[in-house]
């Protein structure tokens, strides 16, 4: 046999082999692709099904939780209506004005910082968030009991107050001069108080819902820090 003949035969066979392998491998690769595709589809459906099942579980849990906290929610709503969960300078002013009418204080000085959202993921929910403002109160009083009543008034008016510092000092003893002053003006500054607290409340993310909780517009006072000075008449 001539070498050219066998070379041609080898070439022909190589082509045939390639064609055969291509013909055989094409469906094999297709089946392989289909297998991977079905697996991926199955995994996707399974993942989606699991996600829905998880949603169901969470929703049920939330629903049960909501039902169990329905009474708490009503309380919150009530407090919300009474503006006990709203941090606002106007509310503070109203409270301070009410206190001023009730108790005798001298140099009653109240400062309130800007209302800011509280820092921390737990305070920020999709629909609501917590906000806060730092309030400082300085005053002179005749008795430490008045200071305690002041604190009690704040606690009654606002749902969440975290006192960072409270200092009540007896500046003067009850002596002849102080008694005279009391007789003359019904007041003598025997006790001084320096109080600082963080006032927290809730706020809605949606504007419509936020209306009852939102801080009122006060054109008279646009300063960042609000100062309410109540001088003794």
């Amino acid at each position: 046999m001539k070498i050219g003949t066998i070379r041609k035969a080898l070439l022909k066979q190589t082509v045939v082999v390639i064609v055969v392998l291509a013909i055989v491998s094409a469906p094999v690769f297709y089946v392989d692709y289909m297998y991977d595709d079905y697996l991926a589809k199955g995994k996707n459906i399974e993942t989606e099904g699991n996600a829905i099942a998880s949603k169901v579980s969470i929703l049920l849990s939330e629903y049960e939780n909501a039902n169990s906290k329905l009474s708490d929610y009503n309380l919150v709503k009530e407090k919300q209506e009474q503006k006990m969960l709203t941090v606002s300078k106007s509310i503070l002013r109203d409270v301070v004005a009410a206190i001023r009418k009730k108790y005798s204080f001298d140099k009653f000085d109240v400062e309130m910082s800007d209302v800011k959202p509280k820092v921390g993921g737990q305070y920020n929910k999709p629909q609501f968030f917590a906000e806060e403002s730092n309030v400082t109160v300085k005053l002179n009083s005749m008795s430490d009991e008045d200071v305690f009543f002041l604190i009690q008034s704040f606690q009654n008016a606002f749902s969440s107050i975290k006192f960072t510092s409270v200092k009540i000092s007896r500046d003067h003893d009850l002596d002849k001069n102080s008694l005279l002053a009391i007789r003359n003006s019904c007041f003598s500054p025997l006790v001084s108080a320096d109080i600082a607290f963080t006032w927290s409340g809730l706020q809605s993310v949606k504007k419509d819902d936020a209306v009852p909780l939102m801080e009122e517009k006060d054109d008279k006072n646009q300063e960042r820090r609000v100062r309410v000075r109540l001088d003794r008449k």
Partner: protein, 600 residues
């Protein structure tokens, strides 16, 4: 042509195969029983492999082309000379099946055998060395090969081998050109003389003679060490092959005797064989070592043939037809055929094992490519099988995955329906779950920040006796962080410091410590869950414990009224008060006021 080998070294291991029907007896010239072939002894064995093939036996007097399919000889064609007209007939036969390989068997005188020795080298390198010797002695273009004989059993243990070559006579060159021009693949060139080893072995096996290898030590009784194979061939003449221990030792070719009668031919064969025995004697033949004679000739010649003078142990006389029956080559010979060419060449071509295969250089390259084709086919087949297997596994997996898709979809739909139903229920129930949960959670968080309980302070005031006045109350939260951790109890989680004054007691340390102890005990009793200590006491109490003159008399220390102050700290957090100031000499405030015994 006749040739002889050099005296071979003694062989300890006589290697004679065959089952001897009669015991060895007598020496050279003694009468020996003649074993004629008996059809009853035929053992059905397969000596011919399957597949279609052409075999071409070439001799000095012509050539025969045989076409076989497995063990069946389909056609046979004889030409006396390689003339172009004759070769066209062969070309036509070969062209009928170009895929059938061509086996060429040479039975001419154009053969050369030379025994050579090589020094004792590693068995791994001996073949390379022999090939190098062949190229050097015979030239690269010569058709050549070698037969490796046994190593010397003593002395240097040299390697013995036969260098075999085909001499390119003009007639053989014509045949080689013809073979090269054919489209059939050359499977190899074989020498009838050399391949006779396998034919005799197969004949012995077919006749039921054992071919077990005898033990190495010495000759085995009952086995003939020497064998003479004689075949009357049309293309070559009388081919005689002499084997010792089953291996070719020399061969002779006698010319055919024209149109002579059977008696004349038989006499000619007897004469040739007698001459052969004389050669054998020179190579160490001893009648006691045993001698078997195999003759393939027509029935007439066999009937006239008398080999009793050769003192052979066994003489087997076959007709070509009988040989074809023994070797299982059907149709190779008719009952009245005279010549053994066809059956021998068909048998050699169909044999799976060959003693020596020769190739021209060109055919070697063709065969290499053919081998590549075979391997390619094998690998392709294997690849197809693997792919089909892989495809099957993947297909099964795909089917299973597809089947599970429906189930998974159903489960997903079921979950989705459940979710929708719950959503509808919640919507219809008018409960804003998210709003309630969020507001409740946030309310819980901010409400926990309340940390100042007025009743606690009232109780604290009430716990302190009226003789002591409170100069200052201060509360500082312990929480240094801006925001408390969720769910942490913050109520009164701070430190309360009371600055106490003692205006109604006498200004002595004893009176002071007595009242201070009373106050501390009362507060601790009122708030057992709190840590209560004095964090500041009048300085004079510390000085009392400083070193100085020791006096037996205990003196009361006066304390200035403005110094009669103490700071009482109350906290739930022990850590906050751990670092509270003690006296400069290492005493705690409890020890200073005498509430606890001094450790020093």
């Amino acid at each position: 042509m006749a040739f002889s080998l050099k005296n071979r070294t003694k062989q300890k291991n006589a290697d004679t195969a065959g089952e001897v029907n009669s015991p060895l007896s007598g020496g050279f010239g003694a009468k020996k029983p003649i074993k004629n072939f008996s059809p009853q002894n035929i053992k059905k064995r397969k000596f011919v492999k399957s597949g279609k093939r052409h075999s071409l036996i070439i001799g000095d007097d012509g050539a025969i082309l045989i076409y076989s399919d497995g063990a069946e000889v389909k056609t046979r064609q004889f030409i006396a000379s390689p003339s172009p007209e004759n070769l066209k007939e062969f070309e036509a036969v070969l062209a009928k099946n170009v895929k059938a390989p061509l086996f060429v068997i040479i039975d001419s005188m154009d053969q050369s055998f030379i025994q050579q020795s090589l020094p004792p080298i590693s068995s791994l390198g001996v073949k390379k060395l022999i090939n190098r010797r062949l190229d050097r002695d015979l030239g690269k273009d010569t058709i050549k090969g070698y037969i490796l004989l046994e190593r010397e059993s003593s002395g240097r243990r040299d390697w013995n081998f036969l260098m075999v070559s085909l001499e390119k006579s003009p007639q053989l060159s014509v045949w080689l050109d013809f073979i090269e021009s054919a489209n059939n693949r050359l499977a190899g060139i074989f020498l009838l003389s050399v391949e006779s080893e396998n034919i005799i072995k197969n004949l012995d096996m077919a006749m039921g003679r054992s071919i077990k290898k005898p033990k190495k030590s010495g000759a085995v009784q009952g086995f003939s060490k020497w064998k003479i194979f004689v075949s009357n061939n049309k293309v070559g003449g009388f081919r005689q092959v002499i084997l010792k221990d089953g291996r070719i030792i020399f061969t002779r070719l006698g010319q055919a005797v024209g149109d002579s009668t059977a008696e004349v031919v038989a006499g000619h064969i007897e004469q040739e064989m007698t001459s052969t025995v004389e050669y054998m004697k020179r190579l160490g033949f001893n009648p006691q070592q045993g001698l078997d004679v195999y003759v393939i000739a027509s029935a007439d010649i066999n009937a006239q043939l008398d080999v009793s003078r050769m003192s052979a142990d066994n003489v087997y006389k076959f007709t070509p037809f009988e040989v074809s029956q023994l070797l299982g080559v059907n149709g190779a010979a008719q009952i009245n055929d005279q010549f053994g060419d066809v059956v021998l060449s068909a048998s050699i071509a169909g044999n799976s094992k060959h003693r020596l295969v020769l190739f021209p250089q060109q055919a070697l390259r063709v065969n290499n490519l053919y081998n590549i084709m075979v391997y390619q086919r094998g690998l392709a087949g294997l690849a197809v099988l693997v792919m089909l297997g892989y495809g099957g596994v993947q297909g099964f997996g795909a089917w299973q995955a597809y089947s599970s898709l429906e189930d998974l979809n159903q489960r997903k739909i079921s979950q989705q329906n459940r979710l929708d139903k719950i959503n509808d229920d919640i919507k219809n129930g008018g409960v804003d779950v998210v709003k309630i949960n969020e507001m409740s959670a946030l309310y819980d968080l901010v409400i926990k920040e309340n940390n100042f309980e007025l009743p606690f302070f009232m109780s604290l005031r009430a716990a302190i006796i009226s003789a002591v006045s409170i100069k200052e109350i201060s509360f500082v939260t312990d929480d240094t962080k801006a925001q408390p951790a969720p769910n942490s109890a913050q109520n009164n989680n701070g430190t309360i410091n009371l600055v106490l004054r003692f205006p109604e007691i006498s200004s002595t340390d004893e009176a002071f410590t007595s009242v201070a102890r009373k106050v501390l005990k009362d507060v601790r009793a009122a708030f057992p869950d709190y840590k209560v200590i004095y964090t500041k006491l009048p300085d004079v109490l510390n000085k009392q414990n400083e070193g100085g003159k020791i006096d037996d008399k205990v003196e009361l220390i006066k304390i200035a009224p403005e110094q009669l102050e103490a700071t009482l700290s109350i906290s739930k957090n022990d850590e906050k008060l751990k670092g509270s100031p003690d006296s400069t000499n290492g005493l705690s405030t409890d020890e200073l006021i005498g509430l606890r015994r001094r450790s020093k």
